[in-house]
Homo-oligomer: 371 residues x 2
Amino acid sequence: MNVDGKHYRTIWLKEDDANIVQIIDQRHLPHQFVIEDLITVNEVAAAIKEMHVRGAGLIGATAGFGMYLAALHAPQTSTEAFMAALAADGDKLIATRPTAVNLEWAVKRQTAAIAAVGGDIWVRIQTALEVAQTIADEDAEFCRRLGEHGRAIIEEISRGKGGEPVNVLTHCNAGWLAFVDYGSATAPVYAAHEHGIAVHVWVDETRPRNQGARLTAWELGQHGVPHTVIADNVGGHLMQHGLVDVVITGTDRTLYTGDVGNKIGTYLKALAAKDNDIPFYVALPSSTFDWENRDGVKEIPIEQRDATEVKYIQGLHGGEIVKVLLTPEESPAANYAFDVTPARLVTGLITERGICDASEEGVLSLYPEKQ
Amino acid sequence: MNVDGKHYRTIWLKEDDANIVQIIDQRHLPHQFVIEDLITVNEVAAAIKEMHVRGAGLIGATAGFGMYLAALHAPQTSTEAFMAALAADGDKLIATRPTAVNLEWAVKRQTAAIAAVGGDIWVRIQTALEVAQTIADEDAEFCRRLGEHGRAIIEEISRGKGGEPVNVLTHCNAGWLAFVDYGSATAPVYAAHEHGIAVHVWVDETRPRNQGARLTAWELGQHGVPHTVIADNVGGHLMQHGLVDVVITGTDRTLYTGDVGNKIGTYLKALAAKDNDIPFYVALPSSTFDWENRDGVKEIPIEQRDATEVKYIQGLHGGEIVKVLLTPEESPAANYAFDVTPARLVTGLITERGICDASEEGVLSLYPEKQ
């Protein structure tokens, strides 16, 4: 998508140096647009853990490129030493964020491909690069496709409103900044906008890290999509008063049974949507499905992050990005990063293959090969 | 309650000068403890509107003292001129915050008492002072009593848990800082704590103005009550995992039919409590009842405040309180300050007369004189 009118992805190989991966360091948005070079797998792990990059698809794509950098720097003394180093680096990457299923998926895909290819180590490195590029390209293409499927939902609501703007509420950033391009929750919005359908997005600020207020607002603004930032507390009130037509969120891990792991607070919005008969959709490329676990509340691991992310917040003051203390210095804080929305609250899943019920039957009807 | 070990109310007449009302300017908490002198009714109106003071009971008490200051400075040329000035000042005070029912209640109580008393203007001024003091004293006493009723709920849960700490979740600040003393939602907590019942409070930070993170955390900390600050998004997850035993909130206006107007986001917590079979109580002195309206979602006016309260946040940086920008400069924001929790989601109302169902029948059983 566009930044100041120029097209960007969120991750790419540096134009004149294939040993360097470049990302947008999202910690500085919306106030500064910073591009960061990643050279080692440790830098990649830090970029994921410290959230220079974040979001289901982008974490996967970054892990994919991370495994390429791992291959580039692994010892070439023997295939065994090379593969052992790769395995250790893969474990290091997987350990950075426990909830995102794309992370493990990308590492395993890389490891399997690199192990499967014959030939010398140079061929394996080339394979790692190709797989990294493929993961990124697929992510962008899957998001583009799910955007087209999701656009149909917005288009139908728009017809029902006689062309009045369709009010979409979203939580966190499941925008192009969370993927390689287009985004998941935002892809239907961008697609509708491109097709001239009037759409307006209520952007949950998404405490504690404010991915909505910082990232979703910024990327929608860069693309000219009308939007309004709201505190996370507001969505229920808007729904009670007919000011939300549809909720679309992303997900960090959705079980094939339909339970949705996503940014903390998603569950509350799903409850409010249900209480007000408003459709609640979750948009995801198939890389975000968890094909093993069945019970989201019991089985999806929920990351607890540092309490300082709750007690302090970052913002712009006098032209500089500073952190300010919000609470009494001595008050403890807890920082659960995700929650689980049970399938019963989800109207449907928007995937690259189409829209399905949030149920085992629904998901397997789109992905019969997983049966 | 105590600040650094010394007992304070939130509003009082200055010890050596009955022409001056003193308040804690809560905008500086938790970082600075500032006492402010109020001399004119315009200063009182500004203190309410700009939220130097806030919270159902304290707004009422401040309006009560505001009418005393109004009487003190009204023209004494004739009773008519005096009463006309009072009426105009009363309207000015009522206009400061549309949702808080205590505001109009206190102004009307003052106007009626001042009009009813015979004698010269000096007697009327004395009456205004007495009524202001009575409103404040009653507020403190009602909160103390409702705290005792609410303590029984916490005590019973404590017995069921074999004395393990009872986890109370609260939203916003319905603490002593929102009243004259004790608070509403916190009164049962303070009462339990005083009686040696182990209790722990999950404090919703309560964006956009963070009354939880700033005020509730501070006052609980000053009193030694164990607590943990959480983002507003977290409560549902905690409830899904058995980490909340009871929700107790305050209210800015509760209809006699049981619908509860309170800080934006309360409705979302009530939905989550319902979904997880967790009791959801609302604590209020009777001054917060609205005896006229019947349908909260339709009839309670919801204040919209300035968007800058969402886009900027205040915190401590390098020893100074500063405001930082959170969103893209050009992104619009909306700032609905309250929402309505329908009676069907409320387990019970904790009042100074006891606990009742959140229904017309329940409320009138405690307040038969309103039938």
